[in-house]
């Protein structure tokens, strides 16, 4: 092992056995001898070096294998092929409050919990004031843990875990603990650990945290390392892939009839019953439209008669952010907004209706919206 590395993963593969109705009793084991066993390849041929002092994020969608990789590093489970080596005292924050006993006080449970992480009594006693202060439990520390609220419980558990003082810290999506204030405290503690030269590996879905905290992001995609490097770039590519996958998924869902084709159209201007005067020369209209098909087009009608104005598209970040999850892959942030102008001379005095529709090529309507405006 290279002495600069904290974790070395070499040609590592992991598969899980999937047994349908696994028999746990002797009878079942004897009678149904391996009838339906399938293997699910979770990780394929992973090679990784994590250097000492690095803070690394593992990102990926659910089921991509990132949590499994973390568990393998912890040596809770073992690879089928290849090796994982670690150098230095390692602590995993996979589970908070492991080994808590409800009938004992918070203080006693600190001892139990910390001892599972392999700390000696002396080491625990040294950290006890820090742990108690960090958990913000005050006098409750000497009450039995069963009387705690779930927030207090998690705070205590997190304080123990974060104060264990290992060389390598493995963290699995647990920072969603407690209120805003406590979360911020956790992050600043993590930053402090990072700056003190600990090796930290985080699995998380919150990409802002990755950008903010990590030196490096590793994107696990379908059991393999897809990209490994600067967080900003890796996250960008990751989001692109999510968009692509989402698009394909929606297309499939539409084909199989599980999901409807749909769209949304919105008119920002004019507002309902807005008034215009002949000297305005033009009626300025703008809005935005989205759809979960590729070739949707916008159509404009005034008083049920289609018009063919010149359409200019604009960037709409606000809309993009709102609909990103649902429509990702179909959104081009620079093309979401539209703007047209209707010449005043084509309009008579009185009430008019502007309708905007989102059409498929065959003419079926995905979304529509209308407003009434008045020419004086």
């Amino acid at each position: 092992m290279n002495p600069q590395n904290a974790i070395e993963v070499r040609n590592m593969s992991k598969q899980f056995k999937i047994e349908y109705d696994r028999g746990n009793t002797l009878k079942e084991k004897l009678i149904r001898r391996r009838n339906k066993t399938e293997y699910h390849q979770v990780l394929k041929n992973i090679n990784l070096d994590i250097k000492k002092g690095e803070t690394v994020a593992l990102i990926g969608t659910n089921g991509s294998g990132k949590s499994t990789l973390l568990k393998l590093m912890t040596k809770i489970i073992f690879p089928n092929e290849g090796t994982i080596e670690t150098d230095g005292k390692l602590t995993s924050l996979l589970e908070l409050g492991a080994g808590f006993h409800p009938d004992f006080t918070g203080r006693e449970n600190i001892y139990f919990n910390a001892s599972i992480f392999g700390l000696s009594r002396k080491e625990i006693e040294k950290r006890l004031p820090d742990i108690i202060a960090f958990a913000e439990l005050g006098e409750f520390i000497d009450n039995p843990v069963r009387t705690y609220s779930s927030g207090m419980y998690m705070r205590l558990a997190f304080s123990v875990a974060i104060n264990v003082d290992a060389d390598i810290l493995l963290i699995d999506e647990i920072l969603a603990v407690g209120d805003q204030h406590f979360q911020e405290k956790c992050y600043s503690k993590l930053r402090q650990l990072r700056d003190s030269g600990k090796t930290i590996v985080i699995v998380t879905h919150s990409l802002d945290v990755v950008k903010d905290m990590c030196h490096r992001a590793i994107w696990i995609y379908k059991g393999q390392v897809q990209l490994d490097g600067d967080p900003a770039y890796v996250i960008d590519e990751y989001l692109k892939q999510i968009a692509k996958d989402n698009k394909e998924e929606i297309k499939k869902a539409i084909e199989s009839g599980e999901q409807q084709k749909q769209g949304v159209v919105f008119i920002d201007v004019p507002k309902d019953y807005m008034e215009f005067y002949p000297e305005d020369r033009e009626v300025e209209c703008q809005g935005w439209g989205i759809a979960n098909v590729d070739d949707a087009t916008l159509h404009f009608y005034v008083d049920d008669e289609e018009i063919h104005p010149e359409v200019t598209h604009r960037e709409r970040k606000d809309v993009y952010e709102v609909y990103f999850e649902q429509y990702s892959g179909f959104l081009d942030v620079d093309q979401l907004g539209w703007r047209i102008s209707i010449p005043m001379r084509s309009l008579s005095k009185g009430n008019h209706t502007l309708r905007v529709e989102n059409h498929e090529p065959d003419g079926s309507v995905l979304g529509e919206k209308d407003v009434v405006f008045i020419v004086r």
Partner: protein, 260 residues
Amino acid sequence: MSTFKEIYNYREMLKSNVKKDIRGKYKGSVLGILWSFLNPLLQVIVYWIIFPYLFRGATIPNYLCYLVTGIIPWNFFTNVVNLGTISIKSNAGIIKKVYFPREVLLISQVLSGLVNFFISCVIIVLFCIGTGAGVSVHILWLPLIALIQAAFSFGIILFLSAFEVYVQDVEYIVSFILNMAFYGTPILYSLELFKSAGTLYRLVSLNPLTKIINAYRDIFLYHVTPDLHSLLIVAILALILILIGYRVFKKLEKGFAEVL
């Protein structure tokens, strides 16, 4: 060697597990830790009343003390084996989430059994004094005998706890075998009764628990030096069990988190 070092690093976990076992077990009950005295005591009283009627041979001198010196070590053994067998399964929560040497769970089970047993020895001594058998310096052998018994139980649960994770019939088979073994060990009766029954006599006298319980009776009741030869055999047996059991345990341990 590295194994010992690793277990030594987790000594605080051992300690707190033992503490949790002993204090946590009776939390919420009015009599608390007294129950670990009361249980064997009540058991002894039941046998003491019933068995003289059933047994023609229950003419053992100082039968009450004879029972106490048999049942309390036996309870030590069954508790460790029963609880040890399920100790990996019942700690699935932490096994799946945290790394630690898994054998710590078994060792702490043996240790809390041992602590409990030493506390219960107070009862044995009280009975020895109360029934007129008295106490002698031979009691100094106690730690050695208890240690051999602990090692023997540890060897057994290394196998059983690992098997239990994969096949959960093990715990039921174990409790059945322990029930049988209770009668296969001279706890209620004296081995002399079987002298005429050739095979049965040999089987019971080969039982390692027979040798251990005889040793306890030697030091508590009869005030003689225990049969060191028999103890040595049990100690060697325990060592072999531990050596093989440890290998088996280490091999099966890799699947624990996935199977549980």
